[in-house]
């Protein structure tokens, strides 16, 4: 386990932010860590939907249970956190 700083682009927000996660965190945990810096601060909460994580410009998001280490995310890599139906 090791700390991994990520560059997070959160849907609806206006700025990229630095978010620290752990290499063992799942993508759902990454999404929650990112949400804490945007939802209720500058982004309105949404009812329904699930927050998903993807690399910028990737066609598909990571699996929700996939860990940061398994996804191969490197320190200071940019991820997009966005709402999806599931």
């Amino acid at each position: 386990m090791s700390a991994v700083p990520l560059v997070v682009n959160f849907e609806g927000d206006f700025v990229l932010q630095l978010v620290g996660v752990d290499s063992a965190n799942t993508m759902d945990q990454v999404a929650q860590a990112a949400a804490a810096h945007s939802i209720g601060r500058r982004v309105k909460p949404r009812a329904g939907g699930v927050l998903r994580v993807s690399r910028q410009d990737a066609p598909e998001p990571f699996a929700r249970a996939q860990s940061v280490a398994d996804a191969g995310l490197q320190p200071m890599e940019t991820v997009v956190v966005f709402w999806n139906k599931s």
């Binding site: 990229l16 630095l18 500058r42 982004v43």
Partner: protein
């Protein structure tokens, strides 16, 4: 004593060129200090500066101008204007002085480089006066805020800002070091005087002088109008240099330097001038928007200047025009949200009436930037100020050193423009920022942004308080909401109505 007319002797007197015999040409004009374009020295003989003055004329005019500015200050100083001024206006003064005053001295060094290493006698002559201009500008813009320091410690940042690692200071310092402190004389002439001064200082000094007069700040209005008349003169050093470069087959290289300098200047003005004009200036005194000023002063005039000289519009012109709608709103929201990290008190400019003005000037503002301000306003009204303050850092661009921002809310359009270079990942706020890096990566690759420093362990402890200490911000320095959240009450009243 009868004096000759200047036109009778000027051309002969200023042509102090000679053929070196004790040193080589290369020793007299080292390439990296003089001219990286490698234009033959004799080609510079036709350089003709459009504005000619003598030392006697310079001293007479400047003495009268400066005496006028100092006497206005002395007369109005007794009227307590600053004790009763709108806090938003004081914010403008603090941001301006901190960002500009010491950089005037840096610009003086660059003028000195042209005065010594410019190959054209006319350039050396003009730049000598430019050096004196910038020295005076540095002094006067340190002197004026100095008397306000006992009233408000943030005015001390006129002198302090550029000596700190505060993020906006890093951005200004790194940009100006790239555009003029760290360039050869000819590059300085086109990047500082043509692109930055002809293009942008009009905005900061004339646009703001107009706002200052409306706001009743005759001292500041007089001061920066005074400065701009000098800028307008020495800004003319670059255009004749560009003509010679183009004539000698260097258009492509010259165009690239102009394009880099214009973009980097634009980015800096989005955080400095944009918030001042659209948010910090009290609404009753706000007439033209930042976008309208930009369209008048930059889009129309500078574009014409470039085309008249035989240059092209920068390749990113459409991106630039699009950015006029959004980027400075992001810089403002960032400065307000991360307000403890700045040396001024950002005025939110988000009351009900402010938002009506913003929507009129920027149709769609409420559906985009307003979406973020809705959440902030609710938190302020609920007393949850903690949720309107930062818990992490914004990621900053490795070119501009400013936050990477984009359009929020409906029509969300935010993205990173990353690049890998020699195993290191760099982040950029726009395609032109990344393009600047790619033109000369070794020039920029070693610089660490504030976020790079944080992540690499240079800032301890790695927390928000640790960052504030690293930036030199004590409790009395840190920015607060300029109006102590009074703007939010208009929303409570509107909801109750």
């Amino acid at each position: 004593m009868t004096l000759l007319k200047r036109s009778d002797w000027y051309d002969i007197a200023r042509d102090t060129n000679w053929t070196p015999s004790f040193v080589t040409e290369e020793e007299l004009f080292p390439r990296e200090m003089s001219d990286v374009f490698d234009v033959p020295r004799e080609a510079w003989n036709v350089y003709d500066e459009p504005y000619k003055t003598s030392y006697r004329e310079y001293v007479k005019v400047q003495r009268e101008k400066d005496a006028g500015a100092y006497s206005v200050k002395a007369a109005l100083g007794r009227m307590n204007f600053y004790k009763n001024a709108d806090p938003g206006w004081l914010t403008i003064l603090k941001a301006h002085y901190g960002a500009i005053a010491l950089q005037e001295f840096a610009a003086g060094m660059s003028e000195a480089r042209m005065a010594r290493f410019g190959k054209a006698p006319g350039m050396r002559n003009m730049a000598t006066f430019g050096l004196m201009d910038e020295t005076r500008h540095g002094q006067i813009q340190l002197f004026f805020p100095h008397e306000l320091v006992p009233q408000d410690r943030q005015f001390d940042w006129a002198h302090r800002a550029m000596h700190t690692n505060e993020w906006a200071a890093i951005a200004a310092r790194q940009t100006f070091a790239d555009l003029f402190s760290g360039r050869d004389a000819i590059s300085v002439s086109i990047m500082l005087t043509f692109a930055f001064e002809t293009g942008f200082t009009n905005m900061q000094f004339l646009g703001l002088a107009s706002d200052a007069a409306d706001a009743g700040d005759a001292t500041f209005s007089n001061l920066i109008s005074n400065i701009q008349t000098d800028e307008a003169r020495h800004a003319q050093i670059g255009a004749p240099a560009l003509k010679i470069l183009i004539k000698n087959g260097k258009k492509e290289e010259a165009q690239k330097k102009v394009d880099i300098a214009f973009w980097r200047s634009w980015r800096l003005f989005t955080v400095l001038t944009g918030p001042m004009m659209d948010y910090y200036t009290p609404l009753a005194k706000r007439h033209k928007s930042f976008k309208e000023f930009m369209e008048e002063w930059i889009v129309t005039q500078f574009e014409r200047n470039m085309l008249d000289l035989g240059l092209d519009k920068p390749w990113y012109w459409d991106i630039f025009l699009e950015e006029l709608n959004d980027t400075h709103h992001g810089m403002h929201l960032g400065a307000w949200y991360w307000r403890p990290t700045v040396w001024w008190n950002p005025a939110a400019g988000a009351s009900v009436a402010d938002r009506e003005w913003l929507e009129a000037k920027y149709p769609g503002w409420n559906d985009t930037w307003g979406q973020c301000w809705d959440v902030i306003t609710q938190n302020v009204l609920a007393g949850r100020h903690d949720l309107t303050l930062p818990a992490t850092l914004p990621v900053v661009c490795n070119m501009s050193n400013l936050p990477i921002v984009g359009r929020p809310g409906k029509g969300w359009a935010v993205r990173d423009y990353p690049v890998e270079y020699k195993g290191r990942r760099y982040h950029f706020g726009s395609e032109p920022d990344r393009w600047c890096f790619q033109q000369e990566p070794e020039r920029y690759a070693g610089h660490q942004s504030l976020v790079d420093r944080f992540v690499s362990g240079l800032i301890n402890p790695p927390t928000i308080p640790g960052v504030l200490a690293y930036m030199g911000l004590g409790p009395q320095d840190m920015g607060k909401d300029a109006h102590d959240y009074a703007w939010a009450e208009s929303h409570r009243l509107k909801a109750a109505a």
